[in-house]
Amino acid sequence: MTATMSRRAWLELLAVAPSLAQDALVAGFVYNGPKNDLGYNQAHAEGKQALKPVPYVRAFDEANVPETVAVEESMRNMIHQDGARVIFATSYGFLDPFVLRVARENPAVQFFHCGGSYRDGTDPPNVGIYFGFIDEVEYLAGMTAGLATRTGRMGFVAAKAIPQVLRNINSFMLGARSVNPAVTMRVVFTGDWVLPVREAEASSSLADQGVDVLTGHTGSPRVIVQVAERRGIFATGYQFNQSVLAPRGFLTGAEWAWGLVYRRYAELIHAGKSVALGTIPRRMTGTLKDEFCRLSPFGPAVTPEKRNAIANAKQRLLNGSQAVYRGPLRDNTGKIAVPAGSTIGIEDPVLDQMNWLLEGIQGDVRA
C-alpha cells in the first residue's frame, strides 16, 4: 500500500507543476458564498461544471470570497499561480473597484462579471458583463403557484426592495393572476441576501397567516422551501433547483442555467476572440428563449393538465403572443404602472428602475 501511495503521491507532485498544454484555456471562477448553498453560488458552480467535458478548458474556483480586497488577491493568484487567462467574477459586489483594478493590471486577461454596468471610456476594455432576465420563468412559476393555491394567498420572502427583486415579485404575481385573478400575495423584506434565521421567521409567520404557497428571492431560498415543506404547504424555488428539499410540496422554480453561458464564452475565447478587441460583446444577456434560465422540474402536486397549461404559456411567451408586462397594470397603491395598450419587453432597461408592487400584493417597497 505504501509503495503505491508514494508513487501516486509523486505523480501528483509532478502534476502540480504547470505542465499544461499551451493552448489550454485556463479559467478561474470566484463566488461570494459557499458552492453548496442550493442557491445563487451553486448555480454558478454548476455552470462551471459544464466546462468539465470541454477538452481545451481547465477551470477552477474559489468559494466564500468576500467582496473586499480579498477578491483581488484571489484573482491575482489565479492569474499568477495558475495562469488563468479568463476570470469569471460571479457576485455583484466584485466589479467596482476590485475587478476593474485587477483588470487594469492584467490587460491580457479577460474578466467577465455577472451583472452590474460598464462605463464606456472609464472602465478597462478587458471587462465584460453577463447576466440573464428571468422574469418569464418567474411568470411561469407564478402560474404554477396560482394553479396550486387553495386559500388564494401566497407569500414571498425577499431580500431587498431593489428593482431586480421587485421584477421577480411582480412577474411571479402576474403569472399567478393570469390563471387565478383573485389571488393575493404578501411580501416580507428581510434586508439582506443571506439571513437564514430571519427568512425562516418570515416564512413561518407567512404560513401562520394562511398562505399556502411560499417563494422568495434571497441568496438561496432553501430555508423558505424547507419551512414550506415542514408546514405542509407548497413552495416554488429560485436561483437553483431546490426540489430535493421538499419532495411533497415543491411545485417548480425559476433557476439559472449558467453552463450554457460559460460554454459560449469558452468557445468564443478558444476561437481567439476577446472582449477588449470587441469580438466578444461587452454585454452578453439572455432570456428564457436564450436558455440563460429555466423552470425547475415539476413536483408531484402539479398535475399533467397543469403542466400542459404551463407548457402552452411558455410557448406563447417564446413566440411573442404573450408577454409578462402588458398593460394595463396597476400598482398596489392604485396608480397605473403600465398603461393600457403598452407592453414592456423584458430586456427594456426601463424595468431596471422598477419601484412598485403589483395590485394584489401586500407589501411596501419602502420597507
Partner: protein
C-alpha cells in the same frame, strides 16, 4: 544547576512540541486523504503558494506582517503571566482608531498623518488588552475569558461605527468609512507589493526580543511571569509591569490593525476583521511566546494562509481547509502544553540512573 534543568526542560518542551506539530501534520494529511485529495500534492501546493516563486513569497510576507504583530499581542503579556486572546479585538479597535485619526488629520502632510494613525492604533489596541490584564490583576477576572469577550465587543463597535456615525454615504453595498487619500496610505517596499507593515512586524519582534532578553525591565517582566509571589517579595511593582507588558502587546495588535487600514483597505470596514488576530494566538503558542520564534512562525503560517486559494483551485478542497489545519495545529499544541513534563523520556531515564546510583552506594 538552574541553567541545566531549564535547558533540559526546554529540550523536553521542544521535543514535545515538534512531536505535536508532526502529529498535526499527519492528522491534516489524513483529513486531506479523507476528503479525496492527495496529501503530498496538498503539501506541494502549500509550498508552491507560499514559497514557490517571488510572487508567492510576497503573498506569504504580506500575511506574515500582521501575524507577527498579532503574535506579539499574545506573546508579550504571556511573558508577564497574563494569557490573553484579545488579539482580534485589539486589531479591530486599532484599525478603527487609526482610520478615525487618519481621516481627522488627512489635511496634513502624509508622514504626520501616518505617525498619528500608528500612534492612535497602538494606543487603542494597547488600552484594549491592558483592560483585560487590569481586570485580572486587580479584580481577579480571568483574562482569557475577558479578552475573548472583548473581541466581540471590538467587532460590534467596528460594525456600529462603520454602519453608523463613521459611514461614508457612498459606500452602498459594503458599509465603510470615508477612504483615506491615496497619498496618505502606507506604501510598498520598493520593488515589491509588500507593504511597510512587514518592516513594522520584523522591527517589533526584534525590539521585543531585545527588551525581554537584554534589558532590566525584561528581566522584571519574566520574573513577574515566572513567579509572581517571588516578584512581589523582592518588591517589584507587579501591577505596573503587568499593565505595561499587556499594553505593549495590545499596541502591537493595534498597530497591525492600523497597517490593515493604512496599507490594504485604505478605510475601515467589516473587512478589516479578517481573522489575523485569531491566527495571532496560534502564532504565539506555536512560538512558545518567544518574539524571535514569532517571526519565524508568522512566516510559516503566512505561507499556509496564502495557500487557502490554491487548495480550492488545484485540489477542489473546501474553502475551510486552512481553518481545519489551523484548528488541528492549535489543538495539538495545546495538548502538548498540557502534557509537557509528564511523559518525559529524559526524566524517566534520569530517575532510573539516580536510583541505580543510590542502590550502589
Amino acid at each position: 544547576v538552574i541553567g541545566e534543568t531549564s535547558s533540559a526542560s526546554r529540550f523536553d518542551a521542544t521535543l514535545v512540541q515538534i512531536t505535536a506539530l508532526a502529529g498535526a501534520v499527519t492528522a491534516f494529511a489524513l483529513f486531506c486523504a479523507c476528503v479525496g485529495a492527495s496529501p503530498m500534492g496538498v503539501f506541494a501546493s502549500i509550498y508552491k503558494a507560499g514559497f514557490g516563486s517571488w510572487y508567492s513569497w510576497q503573498n506569504s510576507l504580506l500575511r506574515a506582517a500582521p501575524l507577527m504583530l498579532c503574535g506579539l499581542a499574545t506573546a508579550i503579556p504571556a511573558r508577564a503571566g497574563i494569557i490573553t486572546v484579545g488579539n482580534e479585538g485589539a486589531f479591530v479597535v486599532g484599525g478603527l482608531a487609526a482610520a478615525a485619526a487618519g481621516l481627522a488629520t488627512a489635511s496634513g502632510p502624509a508622514w504626520l498623518c501616518l505617525w498619528i494613525m500608528g500612534l492612535a492604533g497602538g494606543v487603542a489596541g494597547g488600552a484594549w488588552i491592558a483592560c483585560a490584564a487590569g481586570l485580572q490583576h486587580y479584580r481577579g477576572v480571568n483574562a482569557v475569558i475577558s479578552s475573548l469577550l472583548l473581541n466581540y465587543i471590538g467587532i460590534a463597535l467596528l460594525l456600529q461605527l462603520v454602519e453608523g456615525p463613521m459611514r461614508d454615504p457612498g459606500s452602498l453595498n459594503f458599509p465603510a468609512t470615508y477612504p483615506l487619500p491615496e497619498t496618505h496610505q502606507l506604501g510598498h517596499i520598493p520593488g515589491s507589493r509588500v507593504h511597510y507593515g512587514l518592516v513594522f512586524g520584523i522591527t517589533a519582534c526584534l525590539l521585543t526580543w531585545f527588551i525581554l532578553e537584554r534589558s532590566v525591565w525584561g528581566m522584571k517582566v519574566k520574573t513577574v511571569g515566572g513567579n509572581p509571589r517571588a516578584a512581589k517579595l523582592v518588591g517589584l511593582p507587579l501591577g505596573r509591569i503587568i499593565l505595561t507588558a499587556s499594553f505593549l502587546g495590545g499596541a502591537c495588535g493595534g498597530l497591525a490593525g492600523m497597517v490593515e487600514v493604512a496599507a490594504i483597505h485604505g478605510r475601515a470596514s467589516q473587512a478589516i476583521s479578517a481573522g489575523y488576530g485569531y491566527v495571532g494566538i496560534l502564532v504565539a503558542f506555536l512560538a512558545r511566546q518567544s518574539p524571535v520564534r514569532v517571526l519565524v512562525v508568522s512566516l510559516l503560517l503566512g505561507a499556509v494562509l496564502a495557500s487557502g486559494g490554491i487548495l480550492q483551485r488545484d485540489h477542489e478542497l473546501p474553502d475551510s481547509t486552512i481553518t481545519v489545519f489551523e484548528g488541528i495545529a492549535f489543538l495539538s499544541i495545546l495538548a502538548s502544553e498540557a502534557l509537557t513534563g509528564r511523559f518525559t523520556l529524559r526524566r524517566a531515564l534520569g530517575t532510573v540512573t539516580r536510583e541505580g546510583a543510590n542502590a550502589k552506594s
